[in-house]
């Protein structure tokens, strides 16, 4: 039984095809509404972008837009090889032969003119409704780099159709295994532009983002035992957080005021919280079992965590002060690495089945609805992390051998390998960019 297919049908986008110019009433815009049962990706054509000077940059920007829109699972991005329109066709609706776009199956049409100036690039972006034969959005976007311009355009397309912000300018942190140690690496959300922040001989694990993106909390064995450390982007500093315990798996609360973590003591582990500097530590779980891997609800009032107090690792939810602990998973005998969706509705986790194969699942917060993202795709699909809009997940998979970094929609229908090569572990999807 493939639960992912059911999810796909549920995660849905509904299109009201009535459109208006960007300035007109937003109620008439084509809409991609969440959670409708008749979801179909919107067929969208991204025309070859016109070049104001730099044809290569224009082609690169269009390629980034196509890849972004295809990856997010909301669109069916049409193959440019099918296009019938004149490549030099203009941006204005009056100059566009819409029947040629209808003939390749397009509902939406994205056009742009990419210009290069002294400060970087800019795009004159147009979104057009093919059936209505008119423009529905016109916008000028600036960017210093071509790839960033492509991500900005893709974000605007998502915003236009869904009313929600896109995630194409966010970043994903992960741990990469090297020949003699571990690296803390940050990728763009499409897996490009990898930057090594730390290269360590000691074990490095489980990065977690500050809610505003300026820092990463990492578990490091630099001092011989697992402890929480903070990496700051602005000055590249790496400082230990003294929690008073051997600690791992830190997670920042959504307002940045507290850190939840797993403290290791004697024969067990417990979930604690502390201030970002390590002070004010407070124990939330008291069972003699293993309690670990806390993740905050988006309102900061609850935590999901793993406990084996009932004999096997299962997911539990509790209030942020440790009260009202209750179990939410009752299927399977090995459920771990929970991550609460930024939308608040779902918790993603890794489950091991009876064949000892690990797969990524989501469960509704009340525990009522379990959905499967991966199945028969390698032996290990694990460590899911939500995009800040809650519409995509990053995870690792060994489906092609060495564990790779993938992104997918929550239904698992559109899975894309975005980084591979050396072994990648414990991805953490960062927040929306500040600008």
């Amino acid at each position: 039984m493939r639960f992912a297919r059911l999810t796909a049908a549920c995660l849905a986008l509904t299109l009201a095809l009535a459109t208006a110019t960007a300035a007109a009433a937003s109620a008439d815009r084509p809409r991609v509404v969440v959670d409708a049962p008749d979801f179909h990706p919107l067929p969208i054509a991204v025309a070859s972008f016109l070049a104001g000077g730099d044809a290569r940059a224009a082609a690169e920007v269009a390629g980034v837009v196509r890849a972004d829109l295809a990856r997010c699972g909301l669109f069916e991005v049409l193959d440019p090889r099918s296009f019938l329109a004149d490549p030099g066709e203009g941006l204005a609706a009056a100059s566009i032969k819409f029947s040629r776009w209808a003939d390749v199956g397009a509902d939406g049409l994205v056009k742009a003119r990419v210009s290069k100036g002294p400060g970087g690039f800019s795009a004159d972006l147009r979104i057009l409704d093919v059936r209505a034969g008119r423009e529905v959005l016109a916008l000028t976007l600036p960017a210093t780099e071509a790839r960033d311009l492509g991500h900005r355009i893709a974000d605007e397309v998502v915003r236009h159709y869904t009313g929600e912000p896109g995630i194409f300018r966010t970043r994903i942190a992960a741990i990469r295994r090297t020949r003699d140690g571990r690296e803390l690496v940050v990728f763009d959300a499409d897996g490009q532009n990898a930057r090594v922040l730390l290269s360590e001989k000691a074990l490095l694990l489980m990065p977690a983002w500050h809610p505003r993106g300026g820092e990463l909390l990492v578990t490091s064995y630099r001092s011989g035992i697992p402890e929480l450390w903070r990496y700051r982007f602005s000055d590249k500093s790496f400082r230990r957080v003294n929690t008073g315990h051997a600690s791992m798996g830190g997670s920042w609360s959504p307002d940045g005021s507290r850190i939840a973590f797993t403290a290791i003591d004697g024969n067990g582990t417990d979930v604690w919280t502390c201030n970002p500097d390590g002070r004010g530590a407070r124990r939330l779980t008291t069972s003699s079992a293993l309690d670990l891997s806390p993740s905050w609800s988006p309102d900061g009032k609850k935590l999901v965590f793993v406990s084996d107090r009932a004999g096997t690792p299962q997911l539990y939810v509790m209030n942020a002060d440790g009260s009202q602990q209750r179990r939410i998973t009752f299927q399977g005998s090995y459920n771990q690495t929970p991550q609460w969706s930024p939308r608040g509705d779902l918790i993603a986790f890794t489950a091991r089945d009876e064949r000892r194969v690990f797969d990524v699942f989501t469960i509704s917060v009340d525990g009522g609805r379990i959905q499967r993202l991966t199945q028969d795709q390698g032996r290990t699909n694990e460590e899911p992390s939500w995009a800040p809009n809650g519409r995509m997940l990053a995870f690792t998979s060994d489906r092609s051998g060495t564990p790779q970094l993938l992104v997918a929609d929550p239904g698992g229908d559109r899975q894309t390998v975005i980084a591979s090569g050396a072994e990648l572990m414990t991805p953490a999807w960062g927040p929306f960019p500040a600008d």
Partner: protein, 150 residues
Amino acid sequence: MALSSSGGGRTTLTDINITPLVDVMLVLLIVFMVTAPLIQQGVAVDLPETRAKAIDAEEQKLVLSVKLDRSLWLGAGDDAVRIPADRLEEVLRANARVQKEKELFLMADKALPYGVVVDVMATVQRAGITGVGMITNPPGGKPRRADGAR
């Protein structure tokens, strides 16, 4: 006295082996003939006249035209685009509309050699399209366009 199949009792025949008796893959190109008095606007092609069943006016498919000079055109009327013969399969294979509908309408000039039209149909089939509607004119009908190659 249950209907047990073990222990030498009589075996029930409830389990029919449903191994497929026939495992033949038929690759068919379904050709249907349609007269198109008004609804389809193609390029200037002199269509044959037949008494074929008229197609539903609701039904609009991607139109592929073959002119007397053997040039290939995709699309309707003035917006039709000439496609080089060696790119036709790729263009159709990449076309999301025709790959969903799995059918297109073919408008071929009546003076074209049979072999030329069959060649185009074979390319269409290779591109994964399973149905071809041969567009014809009704008997005594007007040519498709006033500027048709008459």
